[in-house]
Symmetry: C2
Subunit: 653 residues, 2 copies
């Protein structure tokens, strides 16, 4: 291996570790300069508990406290992972499941994309979920998933649903976790740049409803309301809407018109608050205007008051949408005692808001400021009770932690872990120490540890870290640039996902995984929490072909319905005979019951392919536009005679 690596290094002189650091340093500074930013680059370094090079020492084995023993985190053949990661995939449009600590990809769940393997975007059932145009074609086949969050019961995951957002076409999708597949997609009206998403954890009024019933959605881009060709050039009139979705029906419950661009969302354990970090409270349309104000905000929404206002008829609608909307702008919510919203000022253009597992603190990362802002949940409640002078008084700490702070994770032991985009580090800091420092304790040192990551981390998230069961075991850094980290594969790089052991005082880098661009956020869930079903229930499919004897071809005019079953290594019909020009619907039920015994169904030259898992039914509808004999074959390996598992689609002239 050493010889080979030497050869590669010779071809890529930037791959040696020292050079990597220099490479990174240069890039970060150029990147920063390119933005026309002038923040104090050295300001945050003074109270470092560890040197920036500490992470490298771990790799080189130079720092015993960071050393990982050979094989310490290996998942041996036949052994199972300890955790699931449920991850967004960015503008690939899917959701992914990884195992930890192995980093193995366990599933790609098609959501907003077309997946010919599954038949997602091809079968009638999936097209109905995705949504079609009047001609039957898909309305959208792109998407941009940024966040994945699970449903809660009693403050932790209940393995019922996952939700993810589509920033590109402004849809929310739900995944049922028993089968791990998307079952609903809702397009949100009058929003663009739908970015942040978070389920609630409890009903704000009825505390006995201690599980998720709402999902909150932040819209990043402000637009004319309605966006029908008016107000195209008047940013002062553009607004974003904060949206509440019903967790079960997936219908839009209500929206709130707000100032500023909404980014990420977090929710309190008591169900009363949703928080959104905001940039561009200036409502600017171009970069310079978006950055002109010194402070943006962390916006809090009072859920119970919003719903009471709607009940009291204080809502309006926008354009064609029937969704009730209330006014959450600052101007309309000046009195804290009746306010629907509270805008807590934070340093400008922040990124990310996360709640500590004890529910006490929302942390908003500075991005352009080298700080994190700690906001006390209790004080936000006080604000809404009229007992706080200014929203800013809800801030209890604002430690300097490093350059480009973006997202914060928690270990359940009082420590926060924030990704530093520009420093390319994860910084570990103690929340109570930061509060003491803010109060004036000059001996308080919030920063506990730092570790280099490679390179430019975006989201970071800890095992069970967004639940009351945060266990402080693993942290993942989702890095936006991999550069020289893996074998070169051309200009387009994979992302680096770095797994970090956070059990001890010092963080330890375990290993690098890869991820196809570009995952953003994820959650790490204990394996025992997740309950899945491995076989479908045939009765769940109203169109199931329940016995071989039901196999047939039925014609009504030029519409032909074909009913088939599969059982390895056979389809129940050896041929399907139609006439050129017919509209053909084929319904296929897989009668195999053995776990993992999936069949495929592909028709040569007809652009049709889908699978049926054990006991599953799917259908496709298409026009038989080409005459001739076209083999149907099983595209998903099933049996020793898989190659021979065929049928024929015969189209007579």
């Amino acid at each position: 291996m050493d010889t080979r690596e030497q050869e590669i290094n010779n071809n890529h002189p930037d791959l040696q570790d020292e050079s990597r650091r220099k490479f990174l340093g240069t890039t970060a500074m150029v990147t920063l300069a390119g933005a026309g930013m002038a923040i104090g680059l050295t300001a945050c370094k003074k109270d470092e508990a560890a040197t920036p090079a500490a992470g490298k020492a771990a790799e080189a084995g130079g720092d015993a406290s960071r050393a990982v023993a050979p094989g310490e985190f290996e998942v041996h053949p036949g052994k199972l992972d300890e955790y699931y990661i449920f991850s967004s995939s960015g503008h690939n449009g899917e959701v992914r499941i990884y195992g930890l600590p192995s980093g193995r990809t366990l599933k790609q769940i098609p959501v907003f994309n077309i997946d010919p393997m599954v038949g997602w975007g091809i079968t009638n059932e999936s097209k109905k979920i995705i949504g079609t145009r009047p001609d039957g074609s898909l309305k959208y086949f792109t998407g941009d998933t940024h966040h994945v969050h699970g449903s809660y019961t009693d403050g932790t995951y209940d393995s019922k649903y996952l939700w993810t957002n589509d920033k590109l076409n402004n849809r929310i999708a739900r995944i049922r976790m028993d089968y791990m597949e998307c079952d609903k997609i809702t397009e949100i009206p009058n929003v663009q740049g739908f970015h942040g998403i978070f389920p609630d954890k409890r009903d704000p009024v009825d505390a006995s409803i201690n599980h998720t019933t709402r999902v909150f959605c932040g819209a990043e881009f402000h637009i004319p309301q309605p966006n029908d060709g008016h107000d195209l050039d008047d940013p002062a009139k553009w607004r974003g809407l904060f949206t509440c979705i019903d967790a079960e029906s997936m219908e839009v419950r209500w929206q709130v018109k707000v100032d500023g661009n909404m980014d990420l969302v977090a929710t309190s354990y008591d169900g009363k608050l949703a928080a959104v970090n905001q940039y561009n409270v200036e409502n600017g349309a171009v970069l310079a205007d978006m950055m002109s104000a010194e402070r943006d905000a962390c916006l809090f929404l009072n859920v119970a008051r919003i719903e009471a206002a709607i009940k009291a008829g204080k809502s309006f609608t926008i354009g064609d949408s029937k969704v009730p909307v209330v006014d959450g702008t600052q101007a309309a919510n000046a009195d804290p005692k009746t306010a629907l919203t509270c805008y807590v000022p934070v340093p400008k253009n922040p990124h990310g808001v996360n709640l500590s597992p004890d529910g006490k603190y929302f942390v908003c990362a500075g991005k352009l400021s080298p700080t994190a802002t700690v906001i006390a949940t209790e004080l936000v409640h006080k604000y809404f009770a009229g007992e706080l002078k200014e929203p800013r008084d809800a801030v209890v700490a604002e430690p300097e932690i490093g350059l480009g702070p973006l997202h914060t994770a928690f270990d359940g032991k009082g420590n926060a872990y924030t990704s530093l985009f520009l420093d390319s580090q994860i910084v570990k800091w103690n929340v109570e120490a930061s509060i003491a420092q803010f109060k004036g304790d000059k001996n308080a040192k919030p920063v506990v540890d730092r570790i280099d990551v490679h390179y430019q981390p975006g989201h970071t998230y800890a095992s069970m870290g967004e639940t009351k069961e945060a266990d402080g075991k693993y942290l993942n850094a989702g890095n936006k640039f991999s550069k020289d980290r893996f074998l070169p594969v051309g200009p387009l790089h994979v992302e680096t996902e770095q797994l970090i052991d956070i059990r001890g005082d010092k963080m330890r880098l375990i290993h690098d995984h890869t991820a196809y661009p570009e995952p953003h956020d994820a959650i790490i869930v204990r394996a025992d929490v997740v309950k899945t079903k491995q076989i479908y229930n045939m009765d769940d499919f109203p169109n199931a072909v329940k016995s071989f004897g039901d196999s047939r071809v039925e014609r009504k005019g030029n519409k032909v319905n074909v009913y088939m079953t599969s059982q390895a290594p056979n389809y129940s019909l050896q041929e399907i005979r139609v006439k050129q020009g017919d509209e053909v619907t084929i319904t296929l039920t897989n009668h195999d019951k053995v776990e993992d015994l999936t069949h495929g169904f592909g028709i040569e030259k007809y652009n049709i392919n889908f699978i049926v898992n054990p006991q599953e039914t799917h259908s496709v509808t298409f026009k038989a536009d080409k005459a001739g004999m076209f083999w149907i074959y099983c595209t998903h390996f099933c049996h020793a005679l898989h190659l021979e598992m065929r049928s024929r689609f015969i189209v007579e002239k």
Copy 2:
């Protein structure tokens, strides 16, 4: 970890190792019985050199000679892999790159699928490669890649091209390895079930051309010729075509009409022979007929004679196709001295044909027979010279190796490694020992070792194993069922890829990777062989917008051309203003030069998304059918101000 694993095991009692074996045993037998097969299940066990349980012992640590030391094959953070795997993805339609030994996915190359991340199937450039209908929509967006092979120079990989097949819509795609992206797709006329693919390695006549200039393609399904609605019910008239593609132009050079269904392809180092394993020489249309004959064939094609015959005008064309076709059926090629083809009889329904690295032997696996058939290259040459009595005389060995043999890999030291689908094993056997045994040496014991894999392996392939540089280091088993091997994720399972150390006498299982269904074949290539470019050359794009100053919006009637550039964190135009109903073409050139600094370009609610890598240009054309203001944003993380990197698409009524 133990507690957690115990919990999972309690929920899944089939996960304990012993139970897995029983589970597997039952499934395999049921599977076999389902096929109505009656082959001797125990016939092959008598000469085993190792017990079937040996593989399990390795996992349990019970067999020291199979034990892998903790961390022995770990790829530590910052270290590079030793090998690339270039792998098909099956009916997902893409090609994937993995690193070995880590098993990390380094790239997914979209080929026959739509990939909204890259913009594959969305940009004008990719749509031109994929092919469109008259209305501009994609002709196909499904595909079924089964094999990936690289171009050769001097009998080993030259890192120029990869080729892959589409079994579903019968296309061959080429990937240029400098950028690792698809640059050509050709639809092959008059074939269905295009399955096997292999580049030639030398010109059959001009030995100085010692590199790939042709790619050979096998068609599995026999069809009416032409397939225009005639002969729909007369299998006796159906035929398959063997196809030769020009490696550079990607045009179809010629085709050969043959008997039987063609499966995989292999080529000799001297460039003179292509080999294809065949099932269904009966030309049956249904399963029972496909299995009626006792023997099928390994078909050899004499490339020089075929090309001479075409030059001599002995070709014809089929239907609308202009491609010259020659007759390679058995009936038309009775005289070996002039024959274009040689059908070497092998046990019925074989699967897989692979050439040993010394070029001496083609090995055809038995599938339904527990044997592998070894055919000497030299004797096939003798057949074509008229010096062999019968094609079957080219067989020099037919060892019994196990149940369900499918594919064979080589270590360059005289050993073959065959995947056993039904036994769920890789069997290591010595080629010369098998020849000695075939000659009558009763002491010869071909089988050297066996190792269990999990479960039901399809392809298996060794590091550099299909080149003269076979190095006998790693072997990968691509298993078709993972069942209980990973954390459960619902009915649809990933595949198990198992990495095996083949350097010693006994195979050692290193670890399990996963792969999204369903990869088939792959090649393992030494890292130093592969040369890529990390930045595009702007001049390679004829439509490049070469300077910021060239940014503009041009109108001709209702066609609007937009020229833009990107440089972090800005697009060169802050708005694009068009009228509802316009046909808009946007061309974007990325002026960033830093490695890995890719930008995305998404338009809200317009289903448009694509990326531009450093110095790359792409364009999209679409109709501005919705009035309003639609944010354009960078979908690929690029900079600390990535979120603020925006523009506006303004559609006036």
